[in-house]
Each structure stands twice: as structure tokens, then as C-alpha cells.
Homo-oligomer: 461 residues x 2
């Protein structure tokens, strides 16, 4: 890898700065906007002096690296390092062999949604169980190269797990800031396991972000919240992987869960860079699905004035329970540029979709399942046609939220009043998927009779 | 792949049968022994008519497949299908892209154990979070090819999760038998998510196994307990992957957790087949580590009469809480043939080892951590020398048992009486690794002072 040659550009006022001139809170001093990483090819045809390999050479190189035993080649992020030259020294790359996630065929979910062909890119198969790993390998490598000893974020969930793992791998110390109050221990288990220090501050989540923003200006702590633009550089690589897995065919439509909205923006950046470089002939549409209880982008999308108004977030899909998404402008730009829609899904729709994905043998956390729930609506509305090739982005592993799965199958996820609102058809769908244990005497013939009665029941889908 | 040509041989009386002549309970009708899959090369030099590719050709083929986009090539099990020709039709292979698990360097754990060089092959990075996936892809592919519609196992943990996922993937129905009594819901969450039917029988675990054994003889249910020899064919492939990742170098020592003991046997089979075929010049030693509270193989190993006496199992490393291991003879044979030792680890030693592995940014379930705990003892006893290259087999992901991690860091895993038995050195080790949250006022300078005091504390190892 050559010397890292990239700039940072404010996504709001478009001011471009040297990459080492960025302030420690990653905010533009002129307009408080977020930065994005800019390369010579990000915006237009490659200039002659950039000497970037041509598309065929890149495709060949990326394929060759798959059979290498070097750690940076085994990583599904750093295998594409030609398009993320953000570290000078490959020795400084911090990797847990993230990426290389499977692209699964979902025939029964396709049928349920009313389309011919559906794939899922399962980012929950990353080392810590979520898509955050692809971003953290990038940002922690930058932190390690720049000589930081401490890194930090404000998060209770997937972000802190990924940060703690990569920090430990790099030999750095990590701090997780969370608001005081009842700790969600389950969510903290991974970051504690990976050795992070957890600090509970007597304030709310926004207060934690504020204190952290002050701290990084006084003390050499590298900030790893989603404002860090290098995380998006890692998170753009599943776009590369996906088209490579499809033998360089481009799907018509990508469907992404919408929480803090950095992921949609990152994937759009990945597709746009491939398009600029001539690696793909066109870009897919990107649609973003939010939970009804945490739907600020959806509201923006249907608002004729296109105003962003934060909401008080409430959904059991905790990974997207975000009312004031930091990266909404980047995501909005992605939808505007690539085409696509924003849709919302109810709690019941999310639960059904999660069970349908699980029944294909895959499983995901609730936030991932909004993609299937939203897809169904977009097909019903005619926004996606049956012959379009659609790829769902599943962001987290089913083990990330076992409690949700248990509550669903025990029929304890919703109140009776909530269930009473379901249609007859919806009730039948849930009943076919719900698998509460059956208690039987230890008698083979009784077990046999029970199985025979189950055998005659149709399988879901 | 050519037509499957393999036989089954009883591991006790050595009777060889045609693969389609096996009884539905996978037991030898003559002696009740377990079977193993036998190929022309399993036992000696390849016969001329077998037309198996030579070692260089195999190595080349396996490397080439890594850059293929076919599902069977992207699987870390089926990429080695030349050495597991158990299905006739590749279309029948059921895969979730298992295998291809990372081989991590553990420099700090190596130091803690007193050796120069330590690697971990992390089988917990498989799709359902445990090594069981490599076995289930093999056995479910056989079930699908043979036209079964139902599969079943008696299990509450990783086995049922893997079975349910692969069964769903194949479009088959799966049944999990568990004893009546309090359900460990967390352990069942995955198999419910993947659509398995759970039947609680009013009997104990052995009673479940017995009923299941009767059922499969009356009803076309394919048995997927560890007696199924095809599971071991999948579970041998991490041996292939490991030496390939090490550029065909062979480590001196493999350290494996010992529960039901099929996994140690499977890995030994993998190394032995490679050795027979000339793919590797020698085999590594295999050492098996058990929890003190579930140590029947350890007792057998130190017993001068070499008698196997089942024990009542009790350990928080639930994945190896097995007192009467089905595959103990196979594992005993592996130790005898390849060399190696059996060791046991206490609950406190397991907890410390798990935290040490976690602090390297990796994380695993408690059963996996017995490997590091046992390694320390084997080094202290001089059984493993500092310059030997050791590979730990980590069998499950840290997310498989979040509750254990939480209890450890909250210092609720052990009673005060248990903690009182620790030495001063052990207490210091635990204190350096334990990360209970700190509560602070939302005051940047206070946070800063707290961090500075932590900064001066040495990091573990």
C-alpha cells in the first residue's frame, strides 16, 4: 500500500481539509458538519497521476488475495485496501478477519414478499456479531497508526462491542460511556469480555456524547462514535464484496435498516466509488427501513418540506432505537442520488419478518428484520417489482438479542391488546412460525402420534 | 464429486459395513459400538484404483476453490470435499458457508502460559456460533440426499442450534428433545428461531436419548446425536484448514476442550488422513482438557487400570458438562495414537482463562477457555515445552453465554468462600481483568482524573 493520500470533506459546507488537520471531535469548525473521506476517484474519473489500477486489474487482485494466507488479505475489508488507502503501514492494520460475510439465498422470504429472487448479505456473521466490525477495523487501524493509547465511544450495544474487540486486538485501551441508570448487562457483556472500561455518567445519552466530545479535546482519546469518518470507509466494503460474490452483477435494489444512518451512507459510498472507477456499470437503488417507533428519516422522506425532526425513539429493535440520527444527511443524500425509498415497519411486522428469516436457517437480530418487513411494503406499493434482484443487509446475529427470540416464541413479546389488532391472516402466519415447547410423557408411541399430527401441518411459506 | 464410495467401520469390533446398511440408531448390531466413516485412504496408502489426486494437486485445488463464488467452494468444509465424499450430488449439499474460521495469534496468552507462540483456531466464528456447524453441514447433507423429511437430536445447547439451522436451510423439519423441568430458554433461543420443534419429555437426558433411539427405528427420523458418524467427517476439516492457514506447517500440539469427545476424535481423524495421504509429514499431539466437575476422561487417563467411569457432571462451562461421553473410546484412541495428554481445569482457572482470551479481543464461551487453562498446566508440568507451536481449539462464541461473562465481571460467578481460596497472585490477575462499570458525575475533569489514575495501572499481561 502506498502512503495514505486522502482528504476529508465536510458533507455540509464542502470544505476540504488535510486528513491530519481534522479536529479531535471530527466536526467541521466552520459549520459543525460531519466529514467524509475523499480520494482522487471519489468524485470523478481517476486523474492520470493517481495511477490506480484499472477495473480488471482490481478485480483480479481482489480475487487473488482471497487465496492468500496473509491476515490483511483474509480480511474482507483490507482485501479491498486499494480503495481505502487510509493507513500508511499495513503492519498497523488491526484485523479480526472481519468481512467475507455470506450472501444467502432466501427463497421462502422472496415468496412471502412477492418477488422472484432475494438475497441477504449477513453482516451479523462478523467476528463480534454485527456490521460494526467492518467500520472498527478501519477506524482502529487509523487510531493505532496515529499512536493513540485510548479510544472511546458512547454506546451500549454493537458499537461498544466492536470497538472493545478491535482496541484489545491493537493493544489499546477502550472506554465505553453510558448514561447512568439501569445497565443493560447483556449488551455490555461483550465489551466487558474484551476488556473495555465502562463509565456510567450521571446524565443522559446526549450528555455522554457531549462529555466525550469535550474529553477528546483535552486528552489524547481517539473518538470512535459514528462521527468518525473512517468507520464508514470500512463499512463501504460489503458493497464491493456483494458484487464480487454476484460475479460483478449489480442487484437492482439494496434494503438497509435505518438507525443512526451511517451504514446506508457507507454502502452508497461503496457503490458510487465502484461506479466512478468503472467497476460496475450502474448503481443499485438503496431503500432504508425504520421501525415505526424510531422513524425520523421516514418522516423526513414523506414530509413535503423535507424537514428533519428528531423523535423520541421506542422500539424493541434496539440496534435502531435512535431518534436523532447523526448521519441522516448522508443517508438522505444516498437516497436522493441512487434512488430508493424510505419505509417504516411496525413492531408486529418486524417480529414476523424476523421469524421468517429465522425459518430459513439464518437468524438475525430484530433490527435486521426490518429490511424484510419493509421490502414487503415496497413490493405491495409497486416501488419494487417482482423481477428486481433485491439484497437485504442483515446487520446483526440472532445471538445479539436472544431475549427477543425467547419472548416471541413464548408469545410474550406483545400484549393481548396488541395481538388483538392482528388480522386473521397475520395470526395464522405467526402461529405457523411460533415454536413453543410441547411437554409429553416419555412414551414413544405418544411422541410418534404427536409428530404425525405435526407432520400433517403445512410448513410456513 | 464422484459417487460416494465409503464404508462404515465399528470402532469397537472393527466390523465393516456398506454405508447404506447402517441401522437408524448408528450402533453396531454386534457390539453396540459407534461407527466411523472409512475411505480407501483412511487406513493406509491410497490404492491405485482410487484415483485420488496427489497431495500437491489437492493443495492446489483447495486453494483455487477459495477464490470461487460457488457456495460449496465458499464453505470451509465442502472445499475439502475430496476427503469427505459422503454425498453423491453436490446439489444436495446444505451449507451456511461454515468453516473458514480465523486462526488468531494470542501473544499475551502465550506469555501467560509461558510459551513462545500460541494460536487459536476459533470455531465459534461459524454461522450459529459453534464448531457444531462443521459437523451438521455434513450430516444434514447426507440426510437430505437420503430423502429424510425429519431430523432430531437430544440436546439443549450448541448441537440443537446447529441442527435446527441446517435443517431449516435444507427445508427439513427438526425436533429437539429435552428433559422436562426448567427450560434453559437462552440455550433454546436459536433452535426456536431456526424453526425447530421442541419436545420436553418427562424423563432425564438419558431417557430422552433412549426414546429418540426407539423413535428412529419406527419412524423415518434421521438421528443427529453425536453417534452419527457423518458429523465427525465435517468436524475433521478444521484440521485441514489449520495447516493450510499455516502454509502446510504442522503445529506441535493441538489443545481441545473435552466434553462428549467427538470433536477431539474428528480432529485426530483429519490429521491422520492428511498424514496417510502425504499432505503433512507428521501429526501433531492432541491434548484434551476437561472441567474438574466433568472429568471422566481425565480420570480414565490417570487411572492405571484405564477404566472409564461416568461421573455426575457439574461445571458452569455448560458445553462440556457431560459425565458420560459417548465418544470417549474414539478420543482415547486419538491420544494414544497421536500422543498428548488429558488435563483438568478448575472453575476459577476456566474463568481466568476466559477473561485472558477476551482481553486479546477475541472472546469465547467458557468451555473453550479450558484449553488455555489446561495449556498453562501442561507447560508447568513440562509436558509442553516453550518452543512448541500450540493451537487452541476455541469451540464457541462469547455470545453463546453472555450470562457467564456478566457474572464474572460483576464478581458474582463465585462465592466469597470460593474466592477466599485464591492465592494473592491469582487475585491480582482477576482484579486486572475484571471490568465492573464505574459510576461518575458528568464532569469532564472528574472523568479525566479517573482516566489518568487508570492509565497508570498496568494492563494485564
Amino acid at each position: 500500500m502506498k502512503v495514505a493520500t486522502h482528504h476529508l470533506r465536510c458533507t455540509e459546507c464542502a470544505t476540504v481539509i488535510q486528513n491530519d488537520a481534522v479536529s479531535s471531535n471530527f466536526r467541521c469548525p466552520l459549520c459543525n458538519g460531519l466529514y467524509e473521506v475523499l480520494y482522487s476517484w471519489s468524485e470523478g474519473p481517476t486523474s492520470p497521476e493517481s495511477r490506480l489500477p484499472n477495473p480488471s486489474a482490481l478485480r483480479w487482485l481482489w480475487q487473488e488475495r482471497r487465496s492468500s494466507t496473509m491476515a490483511v488479505d483474509q480480511s474482507g475489508v483490507w482485501r479491498f485496501r486499494d480503495l481505502l488507502p487510509i493507513v500508511d503501514d499495513l503492519e498497523k492494520v488491526v484485523t479480526l478477519r472481519e468481512g467475507n460475510t455470506p450472501l444467502y439465498d432466501l427463497p421462502r422470504c422472496a415468496k412471502a414478499a412477492g418477488i422472484d429472487w432475494l438475497l441477504a448479505k449477513h453482516q451479523g456473521m462478523n467476528p463480534t456479531g454485527s456490521f460494526k466490525d467492518t467500520g472498527m477495523t478501519a477506524a482502529l487501524s487509523v487510531a493505532a497508526q496515529r499512536g493513540f493509547e485510548w479510544v472511546a465511544c458512547a454506546s451500549t450495544g454493537n458499537t461498544s462491542a466492536a470497538m472493545a474487540a478491535y482496541a484489545a486486538r491493537a493493544g489499546l485501551r477502550s472506554i465505553v460511556f453510558i448514561p447512568e441508570g439501569k445497565i443493560a448487562w447483556g449488551k455490555l457483556s461483550q465489551s466487558m469480555d474484551y476488556g473495555a472500561l465502562t463509565i456510567q455518567l450521571k446524565t443522559d445519552f446526549d450528555g455522554c456524547v457531549k462529555i466525550l466530545g469535550e474529553l477528546v479535546q483535552k486528552f489524547p482519546i481517539y473518538l470512535l462514535n459514528s462521527v468518525n469518518p473512517y468507520r464508514l470507509e470500512g463499512q463501504k466494503t460489503p458493497a464491493f464484496e456483494m458484487v464480487e460474490q454476484m460475479d460483478w452483477q449489480v442487484p437492482e435494489h439494496i434494503v438497509v435498516p435505518g438507525g443512526n444512518l451511517a451504514n446506508s451512507a457507507a454502502l452508497a459510498k461503496g457503490f458510487s466509488e465502484m461506479f466512478q472507477l468503472g467497476l460496475i456499470p450502474r448503481r443499485p437503488k438503496i431503500s432504508i427501513i425504520q421501525a415505526e417507533g424510531a422513524n425520523p428519516l421516514y418522516r423526513w422522506f414523506i414530509d413535503s418540506n423535507r424537514e428533519m425532526k428528531p423523535v423520541t425513539a421506542d422500539t424493541r429493535a434496539t440496534a435502531i432505537r435512535i431518534g436523532n440520527p447523526a448521519s441522516w444527511r448522508k443517508a438522505a443524500k444516498a437516497i436522493d442520488e441512487l434512488g430508493g425509498w424510505c419505509e417504516q415497519a411496525s413492531e408486529q411486522e418486524i417480529a414476523l419478518a424476523k421469524a421468517e428469516i429465522g425459518a430459513e436457517g439464518i437468524g438475525c437480530e430484530p433490527a435486521s428484520a426490518v429490511t424484510l418487513a419493509g421490502l414487503k411494503k415496497l413490493v405491495a406499493l409497486g416501488k419494487i417489482t417482482p423481477e428486481e434482484r433485491v439484497v437485504l443487509i442483515l446487520t446483526g446475529h440472532t445471538l445479539k438479542d436472544s431475549a427477543y427470540t425467547i419472548d416471541y416464541h413464548r408469545n410474550e413479546l406483545f400484549t393481548d391488546a396488541e395481538n388483538a389488532q392482528l388480522s386473521q391472516a397475520e395470526r395464522i402466519q405467526h402461529a405457523a412460525l411460533r415454536k413453543a415447547p410441547i411437554v409429553l410423557e416419555a412414551d414413544p408411541s405418544l411422541v410418534l402420534r404427536t409428530l404425525e399430527s405435526h407432520m400433517n401441518q403445512p410448513q410456513p411459506a
